[in-house]
C-alpha cells in the first residue's frame, strides 16, 4: 500500500542515521572492549586494578550522595514553593531552573567563583574567622557542583508532582486526626514517590556520567569519566577506555531502567 511505503520512506532517515552513528559504533565499542593491551580480558583487569575500582567507588559514592542530598533539599523546597504564591514566584522558578542548561564546565566555574581560591565563601570566612575556606578543587567541590545542576531538575519535578496532589487527600488525613508531619509522611511523600524515584535516578545517572565539572575543577579528582578520558587520550588505551565506558554505560542504563519500572508500577497502583 502506498501508505506503508510512504511511512517506510519517512522513517528511513532515522533508521539510517541511528544505525550508522549509534548502533554500529556502540557494537564496535563493545566488541573492541574485550581484548586488553596486555593480552588478557579488560573486564578482569578492571576488577584486579585498585585504581579503577577506587575510581568506580568514588564515582558511585559522589553520585549517590548527590542524589540523596538533592532529593531531600528539593523535596523540602519544592513542597514549599508548590504551595505558596507570592509576587515574583514565576521569576524565582524561572531562575532556579537555569542551571539545567549549563554544561558541567560552567558549573565548575561557578563552584570556583563560590569556593575557589578567590571565591566568595573564602572572602566571607576570611573576614569572619581569619581562615579562608576553599574546597572547590576537591571531591567536596565536585559534590557541590553536582548538586548545582541536580537540584533544579528534581525541584521542577517535585513542584509539578506536588501541584497534582489532591488537597482532599490531605484534608481527609487531617479529618482523621493526622498532624502536619504525619500528613507529610503518610500521604504526601508516598504520592510523590514515583516522581522522586524517577528524577532521583536521573540525577544519579547524570552525576555518574558527568565530566565537564570534574574537568574544570581538575587535579585531585579521579572519577570514572576522567579515568576513561585519560586512558583514551593520554594512554591511547582504547580497549580499556571502551571497557570502562561500557561498565559506566551499563550502570547508568540499569539505574534508569529500574527506576522506570518501579515508578511506572507505583503509578499504576496509585490509580
Amino acid at each position: 500500500m502506498a501508505a506503508t511505503r510512504f511511512s517506510a520512506l519517512l522513517i528511513l532517515p532515522l533508521v539510517v542515521v541511528v544505525t550508522a552513528f549509534f548502533i554500529l559504533p556502540m557494537a564496535e565499542l563493545f566488541a573492541r572492549s574485550f581484548a586488553s593491551r596486555t593480552g588478557g580480558v579488560t573486564y578482569a583487569e578492571i576488577i584486579a586494578t585498585p585504581r579503577y575500582l577506587a575510581s568506580l567507588g568514588a564515582t558511585l559514592a559522589v553520585a549517590a550522595l548527590t542524589t540523596v542530598i538533592t532529593l531531600v533539599l528539593s523535596t523540602l523546597v519544592g513542597l514549599l514553593l508548590a504551595r505558596s504564591r507570592f509576587p515574583g514566584r514565576a521569576l524565582l522558578l524561572a531562575v532556579l531552573t537555569f542551571p539545567l542548561a549549563f554544561p558541567g564546565v560552567v558549573v565548575g566555574f561557578l563552584v570556583i567563583l563560590l569556593a575557589g581560591r578567590q571565591g566568595l565563601l573564602g572572602e566571607i570566612t576570611k573576614a569572619a574567622t581569619g581562615e579562608k575556606l576553599v574546597f572547590a578543587y576537591s571531591m567536596n567541590g565536585l559534590l557541590v557542583g553536582y548538586l548545582y545542576f541536580s537540584i533544579p531538575r528534581v525541584l521542577l519535578t517535585v513542584i509539578a508532582a506536588a501541584e497534582k496532589l489532591d488537597p482532599a487527600l490531605e484534608e481527609a488525613a487531617r479529618s482523621l486526626g493526622a498532624g502536619p508531619w504525619r500528613v507529610l509522611a503518610d500521604i504526601v511523600l508516598p504520592a510523590l514517590a514515583p516522581a522522586l524515584l524517577a528524577s532521583g535516578a536521573l540525577a544519579f545517572a547524570t552525576a555518574m556520567g558527568a565530566i565537564g565539572t570534574a574537568f574544570t575543577l581538575a587535579t585531585n579528582i579521579d572519577v570514572l569519566p576522567m579515568v576513561i578520558y585519560t586512558e583514551f587520550t593520554l594512554n591511547a588505551n582504547i580497549a580499556m577506555a571502551a571497557a570502562l565506558s561500557i561498565v559506566l554505560g551499563l550502570i547508568t542504563w540499569l539505574v534508569l531502567a529500574i527506576a522506570r519500572q518501579a515508578s511506572g508500577a507505583t503509578v499504576a497502583a496509585a490509580g
Binding site: F6, L10, I11, P13, L14, V17, V18, F21, F22, I23, P25, E28, V77, L80, L81, L92, A94, V95, L96, T97, P99, L100, A101, F102, P103, G104, V105, V106, F109, L110, L113, Q118, L120, L147, Y148, I151, R153, L156, T157, A160, A195, A198, L202, G209, A210, I211, G212, F215, T216, I228, F232, I238, A242, S245, I246, G249, W253, A257, R260, S263
Partner: protein, 266 residues
C-alpha cells in the same frame, strides 16, 4: 523557610557573581573600586568569536537535522504503534541513558580514521543530533497524541487525500507547536553540549562550551567570566522561551518529565 532561602541563594548567587565578574575591570579589587567595563567581553570576542559562531552553526544544523529526521519519524511511530515502534523509540532514547563520553568514544572508534569527516564539524553535528533527536521526537509525538492525529488522518483520507497530502496538509500544520517546543529544546541543548563535543572536537572545531573549558584553565578570571556571560546571554532567552512555551501549553515539554531524559551534559 530557611532551607528554601539557602538553596535559592546557593543557586542564584554564583550566577550573579559570574555576571558581575564579566563586567568588572578588576575582580580582585571588586566592582565598586575598579568599575564596570566591557573590555573583557571585547577580548572574548577577539579570542573566541569562532567558537561562538561555530556553536550557532552547529545548533542550527542540528535543528535542521532533527526536524528533517525526527518529525517524519515521530509521525510514523505515532501512526503505527506496535512493538517495533516501541523498540525504535527505546533505541532512539538510549543516547540519553548512556554517558555522552561512551557515545563519543564509540564514534571515535568507528569513524576516527575517516579523515575528512572526522576533522570536520559534521562529526560533532552527528553527536549533537543523536543526543537531541529524542527530545524533538518526544515533543512532536506528544502533540500528535494530543490532537489525535490518527483520527485526523482518517478524516482526511475519507475526503480523498493521499499519504503525502495528508502529511503536508494535516499533520505538519497541527504539530507546529510540538516542533517549536522541540526546536527550542534542541537549540538550547546543542549550544550547551559538552560531554560529547569535548571528545569529538579538534583544535579547528571548537564550540563555545569547549572554548569555555579552555578559558577556565588558562585565562584570567575576568575573561572567563565575560565568556560565561556571553554564554548566558545566548542561552537564557532560549530558556525563558522554553518556560513561557511550557506554561502556554500546560507543561508538555521541558526537561521536567520524569522519564529517562537528561538535561544538559555535564
Amino acid at each position: 523557610m530557611i532551607v528554601t532561602l539557602l538553596v535559592t541563594a546557593f543557586l542564584v548567587v554564583p550566577m550573579l557573581l559570574s555576571l558581575m565578574a564579566g563586567v568588572t575591570a578588576n575582580y580582585f579589587q571588586g566592582i565598586v573600586r575598579s568599575g564596570v567595563t566591557l573590555q573583557w567581553v571585547g577580548e572574548v570576542w577577539t579570542l573566541y568569536a569562532d567558537t561562538i559562531l561555530l556553536s550557532l552553526q552547529i545548533a542550527i544544523a542540528t535543528l535542521a537535522a532533527t526536524l528533517v529526521i525526527g518529525v517524519p519519524a515521530a509521525y510514523v511511530l505515532n501512526r503505527q504503534p506496535s512493538r517495533i515502534s516501541r523498540a525504535i523509540e527505546e533505541i532512539v532514547t538510549l543516547p540519553l541513558a548512556i554517558p555522552g563520553l561512551a557515545i563519543a568514544l564509540a564514534l571515535l572508534i568507528s569513524y576516527g580514521s575517516a579523515g575528512e569527516f572526522r576533522k570536520s564539524w559534521a562529526f560533532i553535528l552527528v553527536g549533537h543530533v543523536l543526543y537531541t533527536l529524542p527530545f524533538m521526537m518526544r515533543a512532536v509525538m506528544a502533540v500528535l497524541a494530543a490532537v489525535d492525529a490518527r483520527t485526523l488522518e482518517e478524516g482526511a483520507a475519507s475526503l480523498g487525500a493521499g499519504p503525502l497530502q495528508r502529511f503536508c496538509h494535516v499533520i505538519l500544520p497541527n504539530v507546529a507547536s510540538g516542533m517549536l517546543a522541540g526546536s527550542l529544546m534542541v537549540v538550547t541543548l546543542s549550544i550547551g553540549e559538552f560531554n560529547l563535543t569535548w571528545m569529538l572536537h579538534t583544535p579547528l572545531t571548537k564550540t563555545l562550551p569547549v572554548g569555555l573549558a579552555d578559558s577556565y584553565a588558562s585565562m584570567r578570571l575576568e575573561i572567563a567570566s565575560a565568556y560565561t556571560l556571553v554564554f548566558f546571554v545566548m542561552i537564557i532567552p532560549l530558556l525563558v522561551g522554553l518556560q513561557l512555551f511550557a506554561s502556554l501549553l500546560g507543561g508538555a515539554t521541558p526537561p521536567t518529565s520524569t522519564q529517562d531524559r537528561k538535561g544538559a551534559p555535564t
